[in-house]
Symmetry: C2
Subunit: 452 residues, 2 copies
């Protein structure tokens, strides 16, 4: 039987690990430069924490952990007869794997509120699990990198997130466009066309604009009960063109009767203004079709697209005014974004942007092993190299030279050091650079220097 | 309802995260200097991979993940009537959370054998889950740091692991003793006293020697069917004293009739010899009572104890000749050790060994926010500081000075920068060091320099 892993999960090889580490280290460095600090939460949360937070579909996608011990006694013949797996699951399982980092974070803030100094700036880089149907680019275990600040409604936080997005992608070398919108503007639009009751339907439909086109969106809105007049009123808003400043100017007119809508325009203008004055190096686009699925956003909405690579959004988020309310702590506003590590990985790989020199998944130096006294001298020199921070290893047996060189090649070890009797006597090592085949004699005393 | 997390699991606060990172970074650095490379495996493995690898007790301690969809139809009324939760679990669950890193690693090696260049040196730092009864210092989710080399039976690998242990704990500042034994010596002892059939019983009993004492061990061995003569023959072996060299000399005599036993003595002498010649800076002690629970070790056995702190072993491992055999790949010998991150954390905390300057879970600098033009200048200066790698933040609102200073205090931010009108005009910032209360005026142009 060939061993395998559950579908939708992955092993990560050394090379893949180094690439992922490069991404995580980059976001972590930027987060920390801005004063965000790491936390981690358990992989398992109580199901009572998770259920009902992601909609009915989300509840089904939660991985539930079977209770230990005699779980069977919690099931009755009636349960079997009824055949409702969703309901019965809750009788034999009270823990689930986390589905995202946002709900555990909200739970964390409420549970630890007395220890936290607000505004609380945290980031979190951990795997999440979803029992989704696996497909290309969609996994059942994947990593999220979330950065949020809660306990402050200042727009400076939005500005800081834009800076963070700009700095992360500049550091990674990915050209991106940041799309921004504001949920208050969407509210204002719904209010203006006289269908405040349909705000969620409108935003869901708008969210699909880019995918399915204006006509299909209109059909959908009609289906939701919007009349012709309302749809006619909506159309020019969605078809706004021009620069951000022009769009904002138009919106001010269109939304003149909606104080909430105007508040949204003010907010986005303020954020744009800060970013411009600070010279934040990123293309920002006001995009009214940006609504995002999650219904808890109440202010800014962010989404980042790579300019030179065809893939969904690689980063997204927004402001939510009452995330912790579900756990009993009211009035804590927050704003955050999440970096999609898997997609960023695909972009960097696709555009060949991983820095070559950091992606060597091996020692820098292999010492060939000739056994006996040669081995002894090699081991001594290796101590010195490691002391200088140079990773190295010795082939563990005095195997044939070819076998040892093959190992160096297969592992992509860049340098091989050969120490035989003549090298020992002259206290010089033969150093071979594997990709060029170039070879040098280097005195033992300065061997570490050439690898630094 | 106050939110909570499942028993035996933990949240990690920013300070705890930095401490853990310090441990992980230290072991990672040492592992990589020796040419070990990271891999990661999925949190969930197929239960067929995990079951039967940890004994009956271990099977019970596996967290099993409920199958998605209509799992209920796999259960029958007979299952309910029978009430065997262990058996029924396997009908409704085919995935489990990993219990350790060793079995997933063996599975990885077999599954990816064609991509791997042997000897394969890998390390792995990931959480594992066990449905153990939670108690002080024992968690249901905890991290292991495993380092192994497979595909080589050279004793140089054992020597390298000793070097790694020495370097990790030297780096962490923990004084430790490395206890070593060899399973072949234990075999030789069983053979010599004429009870090869009882080798497992003998080693299990020996393992308990330190905990329960010689008398209780003898009772246990009698219970297992060893007669007086055999126990008498065993006693002097267990009570061996003196230096490692003296113990080795005695063992050579006692085990003269056991070729396997002598091989074990040779092996341990070879490893000791290498370590001595290389000047590996660690106390190593040959300890025959060291057997460790796991039955798959076939050669060297390691265990590390902290000298100055009362706690169980903080690191342990050994050689196993046939780890991958269970997955169909025979003849791959390996040796590895596992660092117990949680216990190492407790030792470092207990002995106050975490480096203070790296454990600041905050920005280095808080800019006080006076709004308007003052804020603008602060934001500009912050860009410059971050560019120099100095983490900083601004209070997000122009709140009262006291509130902002309180925030800096609570977050343990070491420096506060104040920029008001007079500072703007003179292009100098007021810098306050929070712990000493000391204050300076620093020109804007050199502000980054004082924080470096």
């Amino acid at each position: 039987m060939k061993p395998s892993i559950p579908k939708g999960t992955r092993d990560f090889s050394p090379v893949e690990m180094l690439r992922r580490r490069y991404i995580f280290d980059t976001v972590r460095k930027v987060f920390e430069l801005h004063g965000f600090m790491p936390i981690e939460t358990p992989s398992m949360e109580n199901l009572s924490t998770l259920l009902g937070k992601y909609g009915d579909e989300g509840d089904k996608l939660l991985f539930k952990v079977l209770n230990s011990g005699d779980f069977l006694s919690s099931l009755t013949a009636d349960d079997l007869a009824e055949g409702n797996s969703n309901r019965s699951a809750l009788k034999i399982s009270d823990k689930g794997l986390r589905y995202d980092l946002t709900v555990p974070f909200a739970r964390y803030v409420v549970q630890h509120q007395s220890e936290i100094a607000f505004p609380f700036k945290r980031y979190q880089i951990q795997p999440v699990w979803r029992a989704d149907r696996p497909q290309k680019g969609r996994y059942r275990e994947f990593f999220q990198c979330d950065v949020d600040v809660v306990g402050s409604d200042s727009l400076l936080n939005e500005v800081e997130l834009v800076q963070i997005v700009a700095e992360v992608f500049a550091e990674l070398g990915i050209f991106v466009t940041l799309k921004m919108n504001n949920r208050k503007i969407l509210y204002g639009i719904a209010e203006t066309i006289g269908h405040l009751d349909k705000m969620v339907d409108i935003t869901v439909a708008i969210d699909k604009l880019e995918k399915i086109g204006m006509e299909a969106v209109e059909v959908e809105l009609t289906g939701k009960g919007l009349d012709k007049t309302a749809i006619e009123a909506l159309r020019p808003i969605l078809e706004l063109t021009g620069s951000n400043a022009e769009k904002i100017a138009s919106l001010r007119k269109v939304l003149a009767s909606s104080s909430v809508g105007l508040k949204g325009v003010d907010e986005i203008e303020t954020v744009f203004g800060y970013c411009e004055r600070l010279g934040v190096a990123i293309d920002i686009e006001l995009d009214l079709s940006l609504a995002r699925g999650l219904n808890y956003y109440t202010g800014a909405i962010f989404e980042v697209k790579a300019n030179d690579f065809q893939i969904g959004s690689i980063c997204g988020g927004g402001r939510y005014d009452d995330l912790t309310g579900i756990f009993g702590l009211k009035g804590v506003s927050g704003v955050g974004i999440s970096f999609g590590a898997d997609r960023i990985y695909d972009v960097l790989l696709g555009l060949d942007l991983f820095p070559k020199e950091e992606m060597v998944a091996s020692s820098k130096v292999l010492f060939v092993n000739f056994g006996g006294e040669d081995e002894r001298v090699a081991l001594e020199l290796m101590k010195k190299l490691r002391f200088s921070g140079i990773s190295c290893e010795i082939y563990p047996d005095a195997a044939k030279m070819k076998k040892q060189m093959d190992y160096a090649n297969k592992r992509s070890i860049p340098y091989v050091v050969i120490i035989g009797e003549s090298e020992r006597n002259s206290r010089t090592a033969s150093v071979k650079q594997m990709d060029t085949g170039q070879q040098w004699s280097v005195q033992f005393d300065v061997l570490d220097a050439i690898f630094e």
